[in-house]
Amino acid sequence: MGTTDGPAAGKAPDGLGPVLEARGISKRFPGVLALDRVSLALRPGEVHALVGENGAGKSTLIKVFTGVHRPDEGELRYRGEPASFATPLDAQRSGISTIYQEVNLVPMMSVARNLMLGREPRNRFGVIDAARMNAEAERVLAGYGVETDVRRPLRTLGIGAQQMVALARAVSIDAKVVIMDEPTSSLEPREVATLFGVIRRLREQDIAVIYVSHRLEELYQVCDRVTVLRDGRLAHTGDIHELERIQLISLMLGRDVGEVRSGGLTRFSRDRGRAVTAEPVVEARGLKRRHVLQDVSVSVRPGEVVGLGGLLGAGRSETAKAIIGALPLDSGQVIVAGSPLRRRTTAGAIKAGISLLPEDRKAEGIIPTLSVRENIALAALPALARAGVVSDARIDQVVDTFMKRLRIKASSPHQKVSELSGGNQQKVLLARWLAMQPKVLILDEPTRGIDVGAKAEVQALIDELAEAGLGVLLISSDLEELVEGSDRILVLRDGAVVGELSGDEVTEERIMASIAEHSSTNPEEADAHG
């Protein structure tokens, strides 16, 4: 059953060669080599997992496949011939469809109109035949397990159903390749089962699927082969079932199983293992949010650096945002220095003494058009003011102190922040939050995208701050940084804490092991629910 819908005429694959192939693709962005001679061959009818951590090059590679980026080097081949897609639309017309994490449809239009947009059935006057369109849409969607009134606006459906509509649309425009970017991130288990059913059907119709996900058990459940990218390079490609979970994780994180270098690359020098007995300065209890966090509890004591480990999408940044009050929660409590935050707002959390250095400093942190001085003083202004008026001398003093203490390299306090290097921008942000005299500092990827020297300085600073009695919550994808910087590490997976490591247990192997350990759900068992 189930073969009546989908591509109009299930064409035979063109021989046995790959349907889509990247040969030695390189892509350079200013200052970064996002892809370094990456090759990937996608066979008709296979489900190919594409995995890697942040900055590994997955999304760049997908954008090369879908015509968003053009490669600087290398060749893209599609159905056996060299190909070059000018726009995403161009790629789509050739048969490469992409299902994005965020559903890319028009929420206010009806389900049927979304599904049929651009190829609506016409009557003999050339006018859209609404009745036929709706009937057709209903028929197609039934094949994807979606049974609903197709005249309703799309936004009234659940996210899972919306994603099925997107998928149905992608496949029904005669796709040869379907790229799915984190398709299950907002699906219920039942919807995931339906999605997997559809994926298997695509496989039977010789449609190739590129499947991007961080959920390991899903990969083992539905994928045939896997390609691992790391730092823009191909780390591994092969049959997924020949690879143990722990091997896959170590490939993604770039760490050899059982053999971890203890080189002096990081600049952390603080005496670890000092018994920290004080009361927690911040304590988060039972943070819960559907699909995102499942009962996460964290506590940080003064002078302690607590690391949050886990793969991308495990809920690390979300935990940070929840603590600072920037992520609405279903339930949970944040306690600062013994007293619970009553109203969960960012302003309240900052006032109570929590500061967050966000992951994406461009979008969430610095204001590039303002000067170093203004950027530093911004958050602290209310605290510096007397009767609502802030004296310039006072600001100068604060700014000067932090520029010296953090060794910010700028021509003057009046230089625009956008003209500074990434590392110095990061320090400006750090100065902004330190000027607030916080009790707890949450650092989300504090050294990402900054050069080696600045990285070491930021790491040394984290040490200094902890010694001065600040509680630090450190999030980093750099395992080495995490292990050498933290006193204690909580390992997250799929929005839940799956392990806590302290003292001698704080090692890279232990982190990887606890990620792997808990992702060993039996695929067959999960399958049976479908």
């Binding site: 059953m1 189930g2 073969t3 995403p88 639309l89 789509q92 017309r93 890319n104 449809l105 028009v106 929420p107 206010m108 239009m109 109109r113 947009l117 651009g118 609506e120 050339g126 006018v127 859209i128 609404a130 397990g145 979606v146 049974e147 609903t148 009134d149 309703r152 606006p153 936004r155 009234t156 459906l157 659940g158 899972g160 159903a161 099925m164 649309r169 039942r190 919807e191 089962a193 339906t194 997997f196 059913g197 559809v198 298997r200 059907r201 039977e204 479908g530």
Partner: protein, 332 residues
């Protein structure tokens, strides 16, 4: 393959679905309901309200706004705005009156050509350079008004309509209603067909609803936008020409601020100012509603007609608040 038949139930239950359908209905037809209510109130409240003469005068006066509002509905559904229509309306009138010395054909084509060109230029700027519609059409508003003042010697010269055939286009009557009313009806019906039952109309909705998604779904975004502003310009010019024919002259002072009345009518008619939803039935109801409010205030003898703007303004505010609440209700 029998495992993939799981039904994904819609998120909302039956009660919620009904609530959503009702709020959708109010959003779409709220203006029509209020229009009926006001007509009933007027009929029982004032003897001189429900007369054929009064009804005809409301409908005739509304027809010019309605023609412009048809174009504006497309623009707003596509997520844009066109502030230049008031100026184009005046320019169209002046050009038609001036052109009428060369015959009816010139009198009709000249304003269409000129206003269409302005609309096309605005559309190209908006679609190809990504400039904000508000700014581009504000520039259009100012520029066209200046142009109109220049050709009419700062408004001192009023061109009279010289051609009888052309004047008849604005003044001729069938069953007590002037031709522009019938032209409006035909245009509105064509507009509905275009909006609801053609690919172009679907593209307009898709662009206003989610432009990025529309582009990825293969909608020719730039071309559709150009057409939308071209259409708006053409309709504003046509309305101006018909108005000149009705008045037998190209009056230069009418039409200042008309764009705001038109936008108000479209929004009152249930089209979302943020784009993506709305329709022409509502727009026509919105235009008539503003006309009826004016007529009712005229019936209340001791109120000046300026009071009409106060009421329209208050009504617009109410509609926007209601829309906000309704779209919240629809989001469930």
């Amino acid at each position: 393959m029998t495992t993939d038949t799981t039904v994904i139930a819609p998120e909302s239950g039956n009660g919620a679905a009904r609530k959503e359908r009702i709020s959708h209905l109010i959003q779409q037809h709220g203006a029509l309901m209020v229009l009926f209510a006001l007509i009933v109130v007027g009929t029982f409240g004032f003897d001189s309200f429900a007369t054929p003469e009064n009804a005809a005068s409301v409908v005739v006066a509304s027809s010019f706004t309605a023609i412009i509002a048809i174009g504006m509905t497309f623009v707003i559904i596509s997520g844009g705005i066109d502030l230049s229509v008031g100026s184009l309306f005046v320019l169209g009138g002046v050009l038609a009156a001036w052109g009428s010395q060369y015959g009816a054909v010139v009198a009709l084509l000249l304003p269409l050509l000129a206003c269409g060109a302005v609309g096309l230029a605005q559309g190209l700027l908006i679609a190809r350079t990504g400039m904000a519609p508000f700014i581009v059409t504000l520039a259009g508003l100012l520029g066209v008004r200046g142009l109109m003042l220049a050709i009419s010697d700062e408004g001192a010269t009023t061109y009279l309509v010289r051609d009888r055939t052309f004047a008849a286009l604005g003044q001729g009557e069938i069953l007590g209603l002037t031709y522009p009313v019938y032209i409006t009806i035909v245009l509105a019906l064509l507009g509905m067909l275009l909006l609801q039952r053609t690919g172009f109309g679907q593209n307009v909705y898709a662009i206003g609803g989610n432009e990025q998604a529309a582009a990825l779904m293969g909608v020719p975004v730039a071309r559709t936008k150009v057409y939308v502003y071209l259409m708006s310009g053409l309709l504003a010019g046509l309305a101006g020409a018909l108005n000149a024919a009705r008045l037998s002259s190209g009056v230069t002072i009418l039409g200042i601020g008309l764009e705001l009345d038109v936008i108000a009518a479209v929004v009152i008619g249930g089209t979302l100012l943020t784009g993506g939803a709305g329709g022409l039935t509502g727009t026509i109801a919105g235009v008539l509603l503003l006309g009826v409010i004016q007529s009712l205030i005229n019936q209340v003898g001791n109120l000046t007609s300026s009071f009409q703007q106060v009421v329209s303004g208050a009504f617009l505010a109410l509609v926007v608040i209601a829309q906000r609440l309704l779209s919240k209700a629809q989001r469930l």
